[in-house]
Amino acid sequence: MTPQHTTAAAVAVGDPVLQTVGVTKSFSGVRALEGVDFELRAGEIHTLVGENGAGKSTLIKVLTGVYTPDGGEVRYAGETVHFRRPADAQHAGISTIYQEVNLVPLLSVARNIFLGREPRRFGLIDVGAMNKRARELMAELGIDIDVTAELGRLGLGSQQMVALARAMSVDSRVVIMDEPTSSLESAEVETLFRVARGLRDRGVGLVFVSHRLDELWELCDRVTILRDGQWVHTGPMAQTTRLELVSKMLGRDVDEVRAGGATEFGASHRQSGEPALVVSGLDVANRLHGVDLTVHPGEVVGLAGLLGSGRSETVKAVYGALKARSGEVSVAGRKVRTGSVRGALASGVALLSEDRKAEGIVPDLSVRDNIALAVLPRMSRAGVVSEARIDALVDTFMKRLRIKASSPDQKVRELSGGNQQKVLIARWLATEPTVFLLDEPTRGIDVGAKAEVQALIDELAEQGLAVVLISSEMDELVEGADRIVVLHDGHVQAELDSTDLSSSELLAALAGDRAADPQAPIETEGQHA
């Protein structure tokens, strides 16, 4: 927090350099971190693992001074510290590298490395000396980049190397890398890892966060797993199996999953006939690599996968909200123009998006206007809206979905999360879809609404709708879906029939690791051909 930490006592390799002890942090009453202990040693690469909402980013923000913890303490080089601003942590020697590089794109590489600490002569920046030192630094790191080039002209990977070089040049004790690899090519990842290992060997402590699980074993020495804001596990990476890691991350013991009765889902409902949705070879740059998916009318197909596996990207690409590089989508036998939301909607595809606030509700509009939003042209004649038709539509859906609002004219932002979700489901059902893509339909809503939404999904399938269900909750997938397609790193890893699905199979499939646990062989193709 104050400059003296820059010269804090040196930490021997293997000793803790950055620690949290019982750190607690809440946001408007919601616990994001609950008594989390974390220890980073000098000279190690330590990975933080957890699903969405586990508290990873909150913990990183506490470590880097973005958030002040409500309780517990942060220790740096053996002393308790109180970072009030990110700058405090930076001055103390903690560098952070985000996916989005926070450097100045219009300045040269060398200027960026020495930003704020430029070598000066006669009060002016000594460009010659600066470039020379930058070149030396780059050579030391084995990075081949022209230090006089404008940073913004470099690729994202190179920009991250520059950020690392900067971290080195300020003599950082700790480097925190938050999803640095998510948009890098594999060659760039190699270089990044080499530089990271180099830093480790100099006694720097590194925190590494990535949703690409394979990378963790390749790079990291130790792992700490968080779940629901709590510490779950810390141990050496080499002694942690994939299955163990994933089951701890998801909070499911291997035998617990198939307990049943945890959801409102009823019987399975497979129907034969022509498929309602056929997706083949769907390819999105850096995200999806040839995803195939078939859904029949009356069938609920679950999409499973860990964070970053491409679940949301798959449904978004089908819906046209994400540009697909190649691949075909057809609905009820007719080809759908990809890359166009309006085209998808017109073909009978609807998407309930994962992010209710940002991509779903229009907060200041009424329940009524929100429900009618996607069907306004159908409710109009010659460009004039028919209030009577909208009233009838809204009335039907408010009753059918039991939407609790003081009146149809109540603003949607005043409703509970569960009722907002029902309003959005009503919006999509009003378009009379044949394929309904549901991305985490029950996340963040109360137990009652959750049960209602689950029962509704069942009901819709029984009425012949083809449903794609994305959920991070295993119960929901196992009980709600007739079939589960497991995605891993943007491709289909496995396809499982949920009627004879064992929990260890699903876990192993989620981990993307067929060989890790010989007790859990994965049957992929041919199971229900």
Binding site: A346, E359, D369, L373, G383, V384, R427
Partner: protein, 338 residues
């Protein structure tokens, strides 16, 4: 889109009753939201009453007529601005568009008044189309796109117009100065435009989509709304209305001065919209509030002039009111988040 617009009978009415309470739901506590929505009507009512008692000869047809004639172009421009702000945009080019339309009039008056007016309006539509494409299709920030157009279009107007040209064509002169049963054409046109825009916002598919896009663009896109088309249309409407105002102003003054005409009109229009209770963050369009906002600013200026207070003071008073209006909006935002 709001309680006050819903119950109003005709746009152009001063709304001096303060509007029907939208506060019933929110209890008896002091309600910032209510002030934001209805403050402009209350202020207008109070100022009218004060003038009735304190200003000599205020209640005369001559005074009222003059005030309404002066405010009419501002109302027309502000209505277009309200639509643009409803999409979370802004249109700084309106003043320059007024000058362009006015500059085109003397050039094409040879085709008769109607021909010249059509050419002027087309000029406004073209600029609006440009702004709409820049914002809606190319994705330039509205403030940047229309700031550029503001400068460029003013330049084009000067190129066409050069110096002050007088307008003698009888049709145009009577448009600017004539009346029907004592109501000046200019005021009548402003009233009709108000009614049309009000109906569009309330009843048309386009109006509903506009408000949804301003409220959450991403959600609107994912709901399959024609976002580009609505944005382009909105800037075209703003350009058209600005051109209309420019032509009326030139017809009234019987002269077209491309360097002066419409100057700072963008600020007057934005002011009317903002103090009328339309948030700059989009998602709402308050037509009656905008009209009341324009009337209020007009009346404040007039009041100060009646009482021999210098123009510079009037400007300061206007600035204070705008800041207060924005402050009330911010207060509401904070209250929502807590």
């Amino acid at each position: 889109m709001s309680d006050s617009t819903a119950t109003a009978t005709a746009p152009g009415s001063t709304g001096s009753t303060g509007g029907p309470g939208g506060s019933g739901r929110s209890g008896t506590r002091f309600d910032v939201d209510w002030v934001r929505r209805n403050g402009v009507f209350v202020a207008l009512g109070v100022l009218l009453l004060a003038n009735v008692f304190l200003t000599d000869n205020f209640v005369s047809t001559g005074t009222l007529r003059l005030q309404l004639v002066q405010v009419a172009p501002v109302v027309i421009v502000a209505l277009g601005m309200a639509l643009v702000i409803g999409t979370e945009g802004i249109d700084l080019s309106v003043g320059a568009v007024m000058a362009l339309a006015a500059a085109l009039i003397p050039l094409y008056v040879g085709y008769g008044s109607v021909g010249a007016i059509v050419v002027g309006l087309v000029g406004g539509v073209v600029v609006g189309l440009l702004a709409g494409v820049l914002v809606g299709v190319v994705g330039v920030q509205p403030i940047v796109a229309t700031l550029g157009l503001m400068v460029a279009v003013r330049g084009v107007a000067n190129l066409f117009g050069g110096e002050i040209k007088s307008i003698r064509e009888p049709g145009l002169v009577s448009l600017g100065t004539g009346d029907v049963a004592g109501v000046p054409y200019v005021v009548l046109i402003a009233a009709v435009v108000s009614l049309v825009v009000w109906l569009v916002v309330r009843r048309s598919t386009y109006g509903r989509q506009l408000v949804a896009i301003g409220g959450n663009k991403l959600a609107a896109q994912l709901a399959g709304l024609p976002v580009r088309r609505v944005l382009v249309t909105t800037y075209v409407v703003s350009g058209l209305l600005a051109a209309m105002a420019g032509i009326l102003l030139a017809a009234r003054s019987q002269a077209s001065d491309p360097t002066k005409l419409g100057q700072l009109m963008e600020l007057s229009a934005i002011t009317a919209v903002v103090i009328g209770g339309t948030p700059l963050s989009g998602g709402q369009v308050r037509i009656l509030g905008t009209i009341a906002g324009a009337l209020l600013m007009q009346l404040i200026t007039a009041t100060l002039i009646f009482h021999d207070i210098p123009d510079s003071t009037a400007q300061i008073v206007q600035a204070v009111i705008v800041i207060a209006a924005v402050y009330v909006q911010l207060g509401r935002g904070k209250a929502r988040r807590s």
